[in-house]
Amino acid sequence: MELRDISADLAQVVEQASAERQPLVVVGGGTKGFYGRRVDGTALSVSGHRGITNYEATELVLSARAGTPLVEIESALAEHGQMLPFEPPRFGPTATLGGALACGLSGPARPYRGAARDFVLGTRVLNGRGESLRFGGEVMKNVAGYDVSRLMVGALGTLGIVLEASLKVLPRPAAEITLVRDEDPDAALTTMNALGGKPYPLTASAYDGERLYLRFSGARAAVDAAAARVGGERLSDADDWWRSVRDHTHPFFTGDAPLWRLSLPATAPLAEREGIGFVEWGGAQRWLRGERAAEAMWHQAQTVGGHATLYRGGDRTAGVFQPLPEAMAAIHRRLKRAFDPHGICNAHRLYAEW
């Protein structure tokens, strides 16, 4: 494992960029550059700031520098039979912890175990002035001060640069089974929602338009019992299959057609007119392919109480995230200024205006 602390250098770069009003584009492992709006600026790599700084398996806590590859973190955890519960997508072998948190993306277990932000206990960040600040800590419960650590998750580096983070980790389940069965779209959605309301050890669900995939994890006996009760064919290469969904190597996600993500209430009906696409998270995350008018996507998502993102491909110079109502946009602008008064950190990556 490589251990390097280059936080002082990074702080200096940001401080100078701030003084010179020189926008910076923060880069970790370079696997998620496709996400968010296209931005210009001087690239600032944090991948050299790496290494696990603390891992206490019995405390369920791991701290690492932002440039630490997820692969390295997950293999350290695996040695102690533990895992990152939110299953961060990697999209490539170089993916770093900092990138995972900045993008705030979570994998198949999201509805059942929680999101990236749910497992962040503390962070050290460089704000847009290059000030190194520590929030939260390495303990499970901490309500001293505002929860800036969670605010950083999904902010796409627009509020500053995450230098280091402490995460709550969990034991890996002793056993796991994925069941597959043919379902028509409405039945699939109903099944996913119904199972979510039962005390089964469900930890992932997906529907590809024809087949429903359900993953159960936990003690051997519990998983077997759930499988017997729910019914379906056992998927043999389940780990690979869920990884392909997580990292978008599954055939649905490959190719160049624009990829839209809809985050909807889990019970929102499937709009067949748009095509079923690929459904995850018990119905709460849905994917569609192809050129689509952004305004129409946003409108459609909003009508059912959700939001839409042009996730990958398409026109990335226009807006890619659901526009905010003006009062919310105003709070966002003020928060951005509170952390990054000169607008140098990943400016315009989240919204065009700032």
């Binding site: 019995t58 600040l133 800590g137 309500v143 001060g145 605010l151 998750v153 519990a222």
Partner: protein, 505 residues
């Protein structure tokens, strides 16, 4: 609960002045334009019940208490406060233990007691939409016919409100497995100091833009007034069993906690109590605790029958190999409830041992427990004040209860100082000054120990992004840099003397 304390200034002064009377009258008349008379309280004797929250050593009488019952009324109240530049403090049930809901004597207290309706329970979507003044337990009660419940269960759950829970990011005895309030809230509606109604989060699993839902959690009424909360409901586990293990050495109990987690088991609840807490609680609740044991661990496992059966054997083995002197499994649901009832009444039970008690709330890395307990018992001897310990052992959240008598001159000061020392010890071992009760007015000085000036400045900037004039709960949660400079100077010069009287506002 601590009692009124004579060392602190009472808040009567402003009431007597013509200026305050004038402001009170003019505010009241502004509110009476859209609120019925019973919702605007300004008679001194009717203001009294609002002068403190659960931390009763701190008291202030507000200028006016308003009890709106529509969102629109809240918007108008805040708009008036903003216009007249009057501070506002939101209040749920007032069970907070850090003085967060303590009024300001030049301000308005905005009570949310009338927002007590459950708006919707949807068993298919597994959500409850409620008003902020709904009591925590009422949500689970309403969801129960559908086999669902709301997971975070603070010991104060029969009284505390969901709005207060969000503002403090409250935990409960089941949060090791099911998370804190922040993990269980989907959507918030909040009114800003400008009177604007905003929605954070939603019924889906994320929202565009910054995670303001997370930022609001634990923000202690400093950023806005929460007027509606949508929470996640979980299916009731098929089975839940509770094991109680007794130990003759508290370090062994600590080792058992680490052992259970190392075995890959996340119990639904994992609580520890020390000898004094056991004795007081048993005396009060007659729940069947082993009086005389140095510590007990309550370990609840839940899930499917198969899962629980398997884990139960392994937990038992860990308890025994860690030196438990007895391991008992609750025979039935009634006994399980009784054993939990004991734990949940630990504060008031322990409080009976002395005229007053002061409840602390630090979190530490669990492995430092033996050392922290040792140093606390040394301090206890040094201050001649007994301390009982109740511990959310699974997540390292320690609740030392300091027993004292506020009628003895100087004893509250001594108690406060002892408490401050405990919190500073938590920071020293890598923990935090508050796990779930919040900073409020109580731990404002210890914030200076936990955070550097630049970090505090960043907090102030966050606050200003929501509340530029600093009218929402001013003086709470985040200390001014000047205050910290004074506190720091004191630390250096009189390390062993009681902290001089720093005004808290």
């Amino acid at each position: 609960m601590t009692q009124a304390n004579n060392d602190l200034p009472t808040a009567d002064a402003p009431m007597g002045t013509a200026d305050a009377a004038g402001r009170r009258a003019s505010l009241a008349s502004a509110f009476l334009r859209f609120l019925p008379p019973e919702s605007v309280i300004c008679a001194p004797e009717e203001l009294r019940p609002y002068e403190t929250d659960g931390l009763s050593a701190f008291r202030r009488v507000p200028l006016v208490v308003v009890l709106p019952d529509t969102i629109e009324q809240v918007q108008r109240v805040l708009a008036i406060c903003r216009e007249q530049q009057v501070p506002v403090v939101a209040r749920g049930a007032g069970t907070g233990l850090s003085g967060g809901a303590m009024p300001l004597d030049n301000g308005v207290l905005l009570g949310l007691a009338k927002f007590n309706r459950i708006l919707d329970i949807d068993p298919v979507r597994r959500i409850a939409r409620v008003q902020p003044g709904v009591r925590n337990l009422a949500i689970s009660e309403a969801a129960s016919p559908h086999g669902l419940y709301y997971a975070p269960d603070p010991s104060s759950q029969i009284a505390c409100t969901i709005g207060g829970n969000v503002a403090e990011n409250s935990g409960g005895v089941h949060c090791l497995k099911y998370g804190l309030t922040v993990h269980n809230v989907l959507e918030l509606k909040m009114v800003t100091i400008d009177g604007e109604l905003l929605t954070f989060g939603g019924e889906c699993l994320d929202a565009p833009g910054y995670d303001l839902l997370a930022l609001m959690s634990g923000s202690e009424g400093m950023l806005g007034v929460i007027v509606e909360v949508t929470v996640k409901l979980l299916p009731r586990p098929e089975v839940a069993i509770l094991q109680m293990a007794a130990f003759d050495d508290i370090a062994n109990a600590g080792a058992a906690v680490g052992g259970i987690i190392a075995a890959g088991i996340i119990p639904a609840g994992l609580e520890m109590m020390d000898e004094l807490a056991i004795r007081c609680t048993e005396d009060f609740a007659h729940c069947g605790y082993p009086v005389g044991a140095a510590a007990i661990l309550l370990c609840e496992l839940d899930g499917t029958q198969e899962e629980v059966d398997e884990q139960m054997q392994r937990v038992r083995a860990v308890m025994e190999s860690s030196g438990a002197t007895s391991v008992h499994i609750a025979a039935d649901e009634a006994e399980r409830q009784r054993l939990w009832k004991g734990r949940k009444s630990a504060f008031p039970a322990t409080g009976r041992l002395a005229p007053d008690y002061y409840c602390m709330d630090g979190t530490i890395p669990r492995k430092r427990l033996p050392e922290v307990l040792q140093r606390m018992s040394e301090m206890s001897a040094q201050y001649s004040l007994p301390v009982a310990n109740v511990f959310h052992a699974g997540d390292g959240n320690l609740h030392p209860l300091i027993l004292f008598d506020s009628n003895r001159p100087g004893e509250w000061k001594k108690t406060e100082e002892f408490g401050a020392r405990i919190l500073e010890l938590c920071v020293e071992v890598g923990g935090t000054i508050t796990g779930e009760h919040g900073v409020g007015v109580e731990k404002i000085n210890q914030m200076c120990v936990q955070f550097q000036p630049l970090e505090l400045a960043q907090f102030h900037a966050v606050k200003a992004a929501f509340d530029g004039d600093g009218l929402l709960n001013p003086g709470k949660a985040v200390p001014t840099l000047q205050r910290c400079a004074e506190y720091g100077a004191m630390h250096v010069h009189h390390a062993d003397a009681p902290w001089p009287d720093l005004e808290r506002f």
